[in-house]
Amino acid sequence: MKRIFTILALIAAILSIILAVLPVSNLAIFPAVVALLFGLIAFYLSKKTGSVKKIIQFIFLLTIMSLALTTYKAVFSKKEVTNTQELKKLEKESKENAIEDLEELDLDDISTE
């Protein structure tokens, strides 16, 4: 039983740390909570038998790291668009082509200003 909870907690902690480094970092909270929960159960069961293994402490360390990284990214990472040059170029070209197309159209119902 103790081993199952330790394995599950370790898997959840690894998943949490992977998600934390990805752009979807806020999703890391779910496996982190699971890792903490299973880790605590494993810790409690280990304590009962008298020997707490280092792996459980490692699981807590991983979980805390992922939660810290997730919180940092949520608070400090800026939402910004950096690929504006590409879009500006596309917009400019598109407008030039559109004007050429519009010149060929019958726009009698729009008055010239």
């Binding site: 939402k79 197309d101 159209l105």
Partner: protein, 254 residues
């Protein structure tokens, strides 16, 4: 007969006044688009809606431009650079030219519609990555608009005099197909936005196709002032649910 003509002229002038009051060139609205990922709303892209003049030798049209670009942290995973444009009559937002240039990950699609309102037809050009250009001509109903001009056209309705539950129908042409859509006025609601606390007109949008899912899952909040700008939106589409929140508004007419 004379009375009828006078009445129609009055109606037309009122309608034009309403249209001119809401939208003008030089307006720029910026939004944050969020997508629901496993129950957590994640900001993924910036959406802008911008108006400007487009001058030809014959006339000055209004260019309605919508762009969607992913925030830089998503670019290495799934980069989106979308451009939607509609060149419309500034008086009644009737579209003459519509262009859609979408670049999403490895998917690319270009679509161009040239409207002919005398014959009620559209000449379309479609380009896809590694595929031949497709040209097609098809008929449309009177009053059919593209998606961009429809989004702006929603702002021209007179919500002040609409009763709760009243509906407005319109037809949108999208992917060489006409889609019937309907907005239902759900009343007024005051909401907090990035540009302040705003009293809004709450609208529900539904479509004949399965593009917009559910009855009251697609909602729009338009400011209950003369500008009637979209400040908040909730949507449910086949690939998930999300939100659109206003970030900034510049160059508003009123």
């Amino acid at each position: 007969m004379k009375k009828l003509v006078v009445f129609l002229l009055c109606l037309a002038s009122f309608s034009n006044k309403a249209q001119k009051n809401a939208i003008a060139a030089g307006e720029k609205l910026t939004y944050t688009a969020s997508y629901n990922m496993s129950g957590i709303l994640t900001d993924i892209a910036e959406v802008t809606m911008e108006t400007s003049d487009a001058k030809t030798s014959k006339a000055t049209l209004l260019r309605l431009k919508c762009t969607a670009t992913t925030y830089s942290k998503w670019d290495s995973f799934f980069k989106i650079v979308d451009l939607y444009e509609s060149y419309v009559n500034p008086k009644n937002l009737t579209p003459y030219l519509y262009k859609r240039d979408i670049n999403e990950g490895s998917y690319y699609k270009f679509m161009k519609y040239t409207f002919n309102h005398k014959t009620n037809t559209i000449n379309s050009i479609q380009r896809k990555k590694n595929k031949k250009e497709e040209q097609k001509s098809f008929s449309i109903n009177t009053g059919t608009k593209d998606i961009v001009s429809t989004l702006y056209n929603i702002r021209l309705f007179d919500y002040k005099n609409m009763s709760v539950g009243s509906k407005k129908s319109f037809t949108i042409v999208f992917d060489i197909e006409e889609i019937k859509a309907q907005i239902t006025f759900l009343g007024k609601e005051t909401i907090s936005t990035n540009i302040g606390k705003k009293e809004c007109y709450k609208l529900s949008i539904s479509s004949s196709e399965n593009v917009l899912q559910g009855k009251n899952n697609n909602l729009l909040w338009l400011t209950a002032d003369e500008n009637k700008i979209i400040v908040y939106g909730k949507f449910k589409i086949p690939v998930g649910t999300g939100e659109l929140k206003i970030k900034s508004a510049q160059g508003l007419k009123n």
